[in-house]
């Protein structure tokens, strides 16, 4: 089963995604696709907190800050928690080398390939499209690219849900029991 979750920040997407991927994995391999590249102490503290929160859940952490299908495909097929699409696109698009306009296409293809490979997968993205912000060209290209990836993943997934204050608004399919 393929599940896509989005919504505002701190609404419970990651917690739900963790629970769903654990349920889907059963006794099979369960991978956490780690997308964050820590840039400072605040990021390192966040990574440490996330690691603590996943302790005892049986996740194998796989570092995949870029083109995630490549790192994952070397392992036995299993269930993937991919958190988050937002971070992956930021890594692909903005680096010390500059801004890469081809990043959204590359990230999209890699994620679709990963979805094909996985036995089950839960994607987590962020909904950042309903404000009145006037963004610069590249921030807007990032938002447009992320939305395009989200829409492609939603078309490929069995279930699409918006998470709001920990509650679920189903847009497509059903959640596993």
């Amino acid at each position: 089963m393929k599940i896509f979750l989005s919504g505002g920040a701190k609404n419970g997407k990651s917690t739900l995604a963790q629970r769903l991927s654990k349920t889907l994995a059963g006794s099979g391999p369960l991978y956490y696709a780690a997308t964050m590249i820590p840039h400072d102490e605040e990021d390192e503290a966040r990574v440490a907190r996330h690691l603590r929160e996943r302790e005892g859940w049986g996740f194998e952490t796989v570092e995949c800050p870029l083109e995630p299908h490549a790192a994952m495909e070397k392992r036995p097929r299993g269930t993937v928690l991919f958190d988050s699409v937002t971070a992956l696109l930021a890594n692909e698009m903005f680096s010390a080398r500059g801004i890469d306009p081809d990043a959204p296409q590359r990230a999209k293809q890699s994620l679709l390939r990963l979805a094909d490979w996985a036995e089950h997968i839960v994607f987590v993205s962020d909904f950042l499209y309903s404000d009145a912000g006037q963004y610069d060209e590249w921030t807007n290209a990032y938002r447009r690219g992320l939305a395009e990836i989200d829409r492609a993943l939603c078309a490929a997934c069995d279930t699409v849900a918006e998470v709001c204050a920990g509650a679920v608004i189903l847009h497509k399919g059903v959640l596993p029991e």
Partner: protein, 125 residues
């Protein structure tokens, strides 16, 4: 009138084309400079029409309701710009509020209201 709303880049226009079979030539895109042309069967970016009204010193809600006869058979599409922090700039603040009031008024007038989320339609009315 059918109203489509949703965040930026969520597939509102693509969905309208699929649902009603509109060609590109049947869809008018509003701009802050030119405003709206409601002679088209589908009018999108109504939030830009709202900005056009504000810059002409008129309230978008009243302005669009006064033109009801022109769009009562149309499909209207608008970006939801209502979330996020209160904007620093006075015009953006006024624009956001005026767009919200316009959408609430249009929603009351609409036969159907559909919200697009990641390309998926959610029927609100």
């Amino acid at each position: 009138m059918d109203l489509m709303i949703g965040g930026a880049f969520q597939g509102k226009t693509a969905y309208a084309k699929e649902r009603y079979g509109f060609s590109d030539g049947e869809i008018f895109t509003c701009t802050a400079e030119a405003g709206a042309d409601f002679s088209y069967p589908c009018v999108r970016r109504l939030e830009q029409y709202a900005l056009n009204c504000l810059r002409r010193g008129i309230a978008p809600e009243q302005a669009i309701l006064a033109r009801r006869e022109e769009w009562k058979q149309a499909v209207l599409i608008c970006d939801d710009i209502s979330c996020g922090v209160v904007p620093m700039e006075a015009e953006t603040r006024a624009w956001r509020e005026a767009t919200g009031r316009m959408l609430a008024a249009l929603s009351r007038e609409a036969d159907t209201v559909t919200r697009l989320f990641c390309g998926l339609p959610q029927r609100l009315k």
